[in-house]
């Protein structure tokens, strides 16, 4: 067989091995126990050794399976989307969901190529109305609406 490295498989295998290795290292503090009375570390030990083995197999297979590039990452868009959610999480309890939703939508909208403030404002107004109707009025979930709600 000819050596035709597959970047996707190599990275996947590497991630499996790295994850398994890190978890096995952390698992050292858990007692393994015996087959009869398995300790908290027994199943993790089994699972992560298997994962490590699978990772090795994926990597070896990846050396021969043919070129398969990883493709481009849209780092900026990804960061914006994830940041929008993080900001929501950080602010929802302190500022209430009105402010949180507004911030979340504004940040997420930057992931679009063109930023259209009017469109975004309209979307925020619509979502606030919809979310208030659905979550507060209809389902009555426990979520602060304004900073002074509780």
């Amino acid at each position: 067989m000819k050596l035709k490295p597959d970047a996707q498989a190599l990275l996947a295998g590497f991630l499996f091995i790295a994850f398994a290795g890190a978890m096995l290292w952390m698992n050292m503090e858990h007692p393994i126990g015996t087959a009869r009375r398995m300790g908290p570390g027994y199943m993790p030990m089994l699972a992560f050794w298997i994962l490590g083995g699978v990772g090795v197999a994926v990597m070896i297979g990846g050396l021969f399976s043919g070129a398969n590039a990883i493709g481009r990452f849209v780092w900026r868009d990804m960061a914006l989307i994830l940041a929008a959610m993080i900001v929501f999480g950080l602010t929802v309890e302190r500022l209430g969901f009105v402010a949180s939703i507004t911030l979340c939508v504004i940040i997420a909208s930057f992931a679009e190529k063109v930023y259209r403030p009017v469109r975004v404002a309209g979307l925020i107004a619509f979502l606030l109305a919809l979310c208030w109707f659905l979550f507060i009025w209809y389902l009555d979930i426990r979520i602060p609406v304004f900073p002074w709600s509780y």
């Binding site: 858990h30 009869r36 908290p40 994830l82 939508v105 979310c131 659905l134 389902l139």
Partner: protein, 499 residues
């Protein structure tokens, strides 16, 4: 016929104005929370509990049950339209359902989900009525060793769920098992891999993980290729099934119903295993194998039928033993106790109106759901035409609120973020997310049953082969492995010959 007179009695109870109303409200609320990502029946029912204090007990339980199976219905909608599964069974529906939506077939996908669910729900309800007490023995005949083997079989078949390299699928599955072990060890109370974060002591939440890996990652992927996602909008969609599609789904729906009805009885993980099993079965026996994972309608019909059938039969342990099969059922026990009814083995005799009324209402509720949901399909499909720059922030906001509301805790929002990132990375390296989620759900259960079985057998592993149920299941797992290995072995030979 005693059954007929009992059912007539049940319909007499369920068809009163008050109980019909309760059923309708439950079904509507359930649909709403099912459609909204993240918000689950547990949160909704616990918020509604105070309201049920003032109701007669039968009315209360009819409404709560409506929420539960209504949510099962609604859950498929978001999975199909937006790739946003909130629970395991919707993960399976999303596999082919979302692909169908991308192919411009959201209408038929939603229609088959509704019709399949209705059919399965009706059959399973009848089954509960006819032989609920008899079927109780199924729930009691599964010991820890049998559960372990069942979970093991589930894991093995989950490896064939997705497209692409089986090795990567297995890797994702095992990694999922590992992630499932995060949290407090049930047997010793030890904290594993929690980094001293109290929120992690109960493990990683399923919904945050699933919504991150599916929903959020999908948004990022769509932002990557604006041309593709806009092209999808122009594809027009039919709303209804073609005659040929009808023919194709009848078998899968029947098999899904049968499988779901049986597996649903087992407390713990029943619904998840049911839809997974039904999907895998169809994928194995379908003449349409190549379409699976790319938008096969059978891949929506079978798991939807299975999970709705399981949703109905999961009432059996509650109604005949007084034992809740899952968190929603536990809430119903709570509701009953507050009403002054102790759910237990004597409930059918002691509360006949409750038992038969609930069963009749389940059928009525399923009918209501299909009547409500079919006309809604047009609206849902139109939703797909909303420009994406308006759509994705809305999805994000709904995800965030839904996930937050699970425990009223921002921590789950951050978990979603982490898995959104991971899901995006995995999609770049061809690692399918579904096996990871399934491993995540089954892994910890498998560990629990394995350890319990070994404790009870005093460390003798032969118990897995001595018990007939367990041995049969392990045999099936072995067959699945052979079936999985055969094509690749054959392919290997062909390549060897060609090379």
């Amino acid at each position: 016929m005693e059954l007929l007179s009992n059912l007539a009695f049940g319909f007499g109870v369920a068809l009163t104005f008050q109980n019909m109303g309760a059923c309708l409200i439950g079904a509507l609320l359930g649909t709403a929370i099912g459609v909204l990502p993240g918000i689950g029946p547990v949160a909704t029912i616990s918020l509604l509990l105070p309201l049920t204090f003032g109701m007669p007990s039968t009315t209360a339980i009819i409404m709560l049950a409506g929420i539960y199976y209504g949510a099962q219905y609604g859950g498929s909608t978001t999975s199909i339209l937006m790739n946003l599964p909130g629970e395991v069974s919707s993960v399976i529906t999303a596999l082919d359902g979302y692909q169908m939506a991308r192919n411009g077939e959201a209408g038929p996908a939603l229609a088959v989900a509704a019709l399949g669910s209705f059919f399965a729900g009706s059959v399973a309800t009848l089954l509960v009525a006819a032989s609920g007490p008899l079927l109780t023995s199924v729930a009691l005949s599964f010991g820890p060793a049998d559960y372990f083997s069942l979970m093991f079989l589930g894991l093995i078949v989950s490896a064939v769920l997705s497209e692409g390299s089986p090795m990567k699928s297995i890797g994702m599955m095992v990694a999922g098992v590992g992630l499932g072990l995060v949290g407090t060890d049930v047997q010793t109370g030890q904290q594993r891999f929690t980094f001293n974060i109290p929120e992690l002591s109960d493990g990683i939440g399923f919904a945050p993980m699933a919504m991150g890996m599916f929903g959020v990652a999908e948004i990022i992927r769509n932002l990557e290729m604006p041309e593709v996602r806009d092209a999808l909008k122009t594809k027009i969609t039919r709303l209804w099934l073609t005659k040929e599609q009808f023919k194709r789904v009848s078998g899968p729906v029947l098999r899904g119903t049968a499988l779901g009805s049986i597996v649903g009885i087992l407390p713990g993980g029943g619904a998840a295993l049911a839809s997974m099993g039904a999907y895998t079965l169809e994928r194995r026996i379908s003449r349409n194998k190549a379409m699976f994972g790319k938008g096969a309608i059978e891949g929506v019909a079978a798991p939807e039928a299975a999970n709705n059938a399981a949703a109905q039969t999961s009432f059996i342990p509650l109604l005949t033993l007084g034992i809740p099969a899952n968190a929603v059922m536990a809430l119903m026990v709570g509701a009953l106790i507050i009403q002054g009814i102790q759910p237990g083995p004597r409930m059918i005799e002691a509360q006949p109106d409750l038992f038969w009324g609930l069963i009749a209402s389940m059928w009525i509720g399923n009918l209501m759901l299909v009547v409500i949901n079919l006309p809604l399909i047009g609206m849902w499909v139109r939703l797909l035409k909303v420009p994406y720059d308006l759509m994705y922030p809305a999805i994000l906001v709904f995800c965030a609120i839904g996930v937050y509301s699970l425990n009223n805790n921002s921590f789950d929002v951050y978990v979603t973020v982490v898995f959104g990132f991971l899901g995006y990375v995995f999609s770049k390296i061809g690692c399918p997310p579904a096996p990871m989620l399934i491993g995540f759900v089954l892994g910890p259960m498998m560990e629990e049953h394995l350890r319990r079985a070994m404790l009870l057998s005093r460390g003798d592993p032969m118990v897995f082969l001595q018990r007939p149920i367990s041995a049969t299941l392990l045999g099936l797992a072995l067959l699945a492995v052979i079936a999985m290995a055969l094509p690749s072995i054959r392919r290997g030979k062909d390549q060897a010959l060609a090379g």
